[in-house]
Symmetry: none
Subunit: 205 residues, 4 copies
DNA sequence: AATGAATGAGGATTCATTCAT
DNA sequence: AATGAATGAATCCTCATTCAT
């Protein structure tokens, strides 16, 4: 798989009939029109099934959104965690790896990443809790690396928590502007973004 | 006015009867429920007037949103531009001033800033154009300062455009998490954020 | 007003636009198809207005039913109470008057009486409470008269409560079979029914 | 079997797999929510089988209701007829026996009795005819006994038909209020109710 | 400027029923 | 006999908007 090839599906083909078609249609609909702007009819149309059949798979529109956000946040957490846990000698190296993984997810699943940040507000209750937790855990990974780097004298930034928040904010925002045909390939963007992250932390050269 | 005192109203009391009450109610409603989640009934209730009376002030829900976003983006542009134009000897000083002004707007009008980034997608046509233009002009101010600084050898960042985008992204994101009762006062946050911006640009010390 | 003339409206013409038309249409619809069998569309059609306009008058189908049952039970209580309170020298006379009033309501507002007994089960919460209370108060009037009659030695029935229940049961059931064109006029039926009530109580001749 | 022991099942275990479970679930559902308020899904859930499997047993929801009402009315008719045909020297004795049998059914199968009177309106066509016929035959038994008693000079009520109707009305209404844990056992209630019936007929002592 | 009544389109969801397996 | 998937029609209700006053 090279730098411009399609990413692995976030929503893998399901054993259960139309499930993945519905999830993908919902993702598109929420991405284009927002949670409240997209109708279940839109989603059914996108999934090439009937409106009522959606309810054989998901009990409500909210649950559909919840399932999407669960998958997106879980995958982003998994990728970031995996990168952060990889063998590395310095905090700077771990941070570079984590930023690249995080950005990689945003680029590979741009719509999902966009929906994840912009539609989470429409979740409530248990569904919200799970998704928020995954999101916070991803954030915590960055905080921990920054804190480690500060302890080790690698970074000199005064507020590790705020710095980490800025890093994820600017990486998440990529989902709002990135165009695959644009100047930057996924790898280039990931590289560049990790440099900005290290600069932000005032890493020693 | 000190650091924790209320900011000047984004929506000033209007000579026109209920206008400002309606705009403020719409701002709250869009902020809490999103454009499509908020109903004209909600807004009327918030403004303590009747549903049909809204249409004596604004011809449609979309125009209401447009008016809000116009005011927000225009104000943010004005503040940022004013700061960037102030007498200053270095690009770094101008950047610091611009970031502080930008952050100041986000903190003073947090809901408006949030709505401005999250609901702009629901604008179309002329309305969208005006708002996008104001937003892009604000962005352009940062790009120009960064480019100047690079030319002058003050900043060493390789991609001025991308760097400026990251700066506004992380400053805009403040609207999603800032709490006035929290650790950081408006001034502290603005200070801190401008330091992150300069770090990101790899400003020479 | 003679014995076969139309009764006064249970639902008086309202000052508020379509309100009484809606209530009457709902009464007919619930009477013919039951609460769950009647649709808001049916009711709108019957009231010659649009579906959505119903909701300008009643916030939900349940509230519509509640309003109908409130009016029916309140009116039946008022009539019965008025008759029971009228000057009378004996319990038997009071009972006769109360039965006649009760039966009079059933005949005058047969559909309302039918809906009142058959659809009360679909009420819940506060609405149910109010209606049940009116119904129980009506029942209590009969119980009290019977108890008085027993104390006075006029009636010899052993269980006043059960006897009163039987009396209202058989009078309410009239709503399920009475036909105005049939053998019995309202007055005749009321007379006859009061005789059965006294017989049931084993009134001394 | 004593006075408080459970009655024989109205719906006997069937040789046909889930049939009785389905009928019982339907009875419960119709009893609790009414015919239109209960869904086939509710019934399937109650019978612990799948929605579609219901249609292997009954071709439609209406047929399910019809089968229930057939069984209920047939059983009530059979019990009442059996009691009315038993050796007896007087009309009063026959009436007492018939009332006790009728009341016995209502208490033994309270939900079925309730559904029988409240949901019969949702039957149509052939199904309705059969059920109505059984109900009318049961009614006719009482009318005949009353007429006999009047002929024999045992009862002095002037309108045998109306009196009989009142008797069945008040006995059927038992299904709406009886509680097995209450003051009256089945036998006591049946006794008491037969006394009221005779009193209503103005039976000579 | 202000309102209550009105409406047609559309919202999410549930319905009884059917079909393929 | 049993099931999960599927569907079109219908459910209650809300929507943004208009109109008469």
């Amino acid at each position: 798989m090279n730098d411009r090839s399609p990413a692995p599906e976030l929503i893998a083909p399901s054993t259960r009939g139309n499930e993945s078609a519905i999830l993908n249609a919902a993702l598109d609909a929420f991405g284009e029109q927002g949670f409240n702007g997209a109708s279940m009819r839109d989603i059914a149309r996108g999934a090439r099934t009937s409106l009522s059949n959606l309810y054989n798979y998901f009990p409500s529109k909210s649950e559909l959104l919840a399932e999407l956000l669960r998958r997106a946040n879980d995958e982003q957490l998994a990728r970031t965690r995996h990168a952060a846990n990889a063998e590395a000698t310095t905090a700077a190296e771990r941070l570079r790896a984590a930023v690249k993984a995080y950005v990689g997810f945003v680029v590979d699943h741009q719509v999902a990443a966009l929906v994840a940040i912009s539609e989470i507000r429409y979740l409530a209750g248990k569904n919200r809790e799970h998704v928020v937790e995954a999101r916070d855990q991803t954030q915590a990974i960055f905080e921990e690396i920054v804190a480690d780097g500060v302890s080790a004298g690698e970074f000199t930034t005064p507020y590790p928590g705020d710095a980490a928040r800025n890093i994820t904010a600017m990486c998440s925002a990529i989902s709002t502007w990135y165009r695959p045909e644009g100047r930057l390939s996924k790898t280039q963007l990931a590289e560049e973004q990790s440099r900005y992250a290290l600069a932000l932390l005032e890493a020693r050269p």
